[in-house]
Amino acid sequence: MSSALAVERLTVELGGRNVVDGISFAVERGEWVTLIGPNGAGKTTLLRAVAGLLSYGGEISVGGEPVRSLRRREVAKRVAVVQQSPLMPAGMSVREYVLLGRTPFVSYIGRESRHDDAASESAIARLDLGELAERDLGTLSGGERQRAVLARALAQEAPLLLLDEPTSALDAGRQQEALELIDALRLDAGLTVVATMHDLTVAGLYASRLLLLSSGRIVAQGAPAEVLTEPLIAEHYGAHVRVVDGAVIPVRR
């Protein structure tokens, strides 16, 4: 069976510079792979290329199909994206927002079918948003917003979920809640998750595998314990840290 995501010799040029510079890796079905790396390493650019938002060199396949040859709508049926700070229009209700996840299944001038409504209602129920369904997006708390965004992505029913810094706007408690939820969704819906994260300890806690990117290349990959090492972090982040039981603790120089 083909990998959920296969990236081969991927290069992305932005502003005359190879922001992603010849990256190859594969993600198997049901895996959670998190991309880590210093600012400007190319993590977000890589995700955007996988989502079909950038032109690229090399090959990206989702479920064995090359992204380049798929129509935009077909990509959207296979890849759902949660952006770092999604625009959530004030005045739109949670229910209307989640229903937008069905966009790839509705014809250009058509309307949502009963099946689309059902899929979006089940995403609302799965993320425990029933009570908030009629609420205005503008009135939600950070954690509630994040759940609404995840519900929209879930309603999309795409097997591959891309998360760009999914919890950077949340406090420690809400962050944990959101990541546990994503992990639970991954297990029961059989999703494959590819995320980017800044917090290394949290990244290590939830990923089955980490890819450390630096200057557009993969410089280390493997289980969290193999990647989150003091020398690797010192070399690529220029940070002085102790790693204790998987926790990355900054220390003063």
Binding site: R48, A51, G52, L53, R72, R73, E74, V75, A76, K77, V79, A80, V81, Q83, P86, L87, M88, P89, A90, G91, M92, E96, Y97, L100, G101, T103, P104, V106, Y108, I109, R111, G138, Q156
Partner: protein, 336 residues
């Protein structure tokens, strides 16, 4: 309130506006008489009109075409305003403020002066309006995304100023048509008859159908270009299609009624306040409420200084400019 109720309420508003528009005037003709006269024109009904030939002509050749034309123009301006606001994700967008109306005005002036005749008015107005919106959008974008929505309006005002200058220059060169163009450019409906209605109708129909078909996608665009793309939408194509339709609608309105400002701001924002921002409901409501709004504005234009007439653009600006100031104040949240 459900969508259906809002539509019914908006349709009621339009009907009230049409009745007021037909009844108000220097010659008193009662509603009952108008209804009888209407029924008498239908086949197979044995109803006789009590109106004298002169009254009949006032109702059917003067007031009705003017009301219908006002409704069409108002519908187009409100719909175009709501559409521009959606595709540019900018609450301040309006056919007048974006310079589209001025571009259309220049196109129409060129058509009057060099091509002569009303047949070419709408297409020429469309070309002028399209050029204006492209330039305004290009200037607005070139200053960067971070500068906020006011930039697009500044760019539009710049374009409008330039196009108006060129238009005035051409107008002064051709003093033989000066009077005709001058009254038209201020925005007016007085000389309207059924010919004008027939001129606008096909363009209005294309614009309305084209835009309403995109109402679901305009909701998708409200989450941003990139997210809309990850939902499978070709953002550029949708934006182009909607801008073309909105510009056709604006051009048709400008070609027959001149420059009437602020309808595209007042109507969609008033609807958002009461019925919410979803374009699925906002766009059809804009058609109905925009139509009714302009018919009422025209009643004010006809009666405020009777027997003189105010240009209708003066009436809409009088109400619209203060309204715009309020929208500007409250739009920071929407501009993000």
């Amino acid at each position: 309130m459900t969508s259906r109720l809002w539509i019914v309420a908006a349709a009621g508003f339009l009907v009230a506006a049409v009745i007021t528009g037909v009844l108000v005037g220097p010659v008193h003709i009662g509603l009952g008489e108008v209804v009888r006269s209407f029924l008498s024109k239908l086949p197979f009904l044995d109803v006789h009109s009590n109106l004298s030939p002169a009254e009949d002509s006032i109702v059917w050749d003067i007031r009705f075409p003017r009301v219908v034309l006002g409704a069409l123009v108002g519908a187009m301006l409100a719909l175009a305003g709501a559409s521009y606001q959606g595709v540019f994700r900018n609450p301040l967008a309006d056919p007048y403020l974006l310079g589209v109306a001025a571009g259309a005005g220049l196109g129409a002036t060129l058509a009057v002066v060099y091509l002569g005749g009303t047949y070419w008015l709408p297409p020429a107005a469309f070309v002028g309006g399209a050029v204006a919106v492209v330039i305004a959008y290009a200037i607005g974008r070139s200053t960067g995304r971070s500068s906020g929505g006011a930039t697009l309006v500044l760019a539009g005002v710049t374009v409008a100023a330039f196009f108006t200058a060129v238009q005035t220059f051409i107008q002064q060169q051709h003093t033989d048509t000066l009077q005709q163009i001058y009254s038209w450019i201020l925005g007016s409906l007085p000389s309207s008859d059924w010919t004008d209605v027939r001129t606008v109708l096909p363009y209005a129909a294309i614009a309305t159908v084209g835009i309403l078909l995109h109402r679901r996608l305009l909701d998708v665009l409200s989450v941003g270009d990139e997210e809309a793309a990850t939902l499978g939408v070709h953002v550029g194509r949708v934006r182009l299609a909607v801008v073309v339709c909105a510009t056709i609608g604006t051009a048709a309105a400008v070609a027959v009624a001149g420059l009437i400002g602020f309808v595209g701001i007042i109507v969609p924002h008033a609807i958002r306040l009461v019925a919410g921002p979803s374009y699925r409901l906002l766009l059809p409501l804009s058609v109905l409420v925009g139509a009714g709004f302009l018919v009422f504005a025209d009643v004010i234009a006809r009666t405020a200084l009777a027997p003189q007439e105010l240009p209708i653009g003066v009436v809409t600006a009088f109400f619209g400019a203060p309204f715009f100031a309020v929208v500007l104040r409250t739009s920071r949240r929407m501009l993000g």
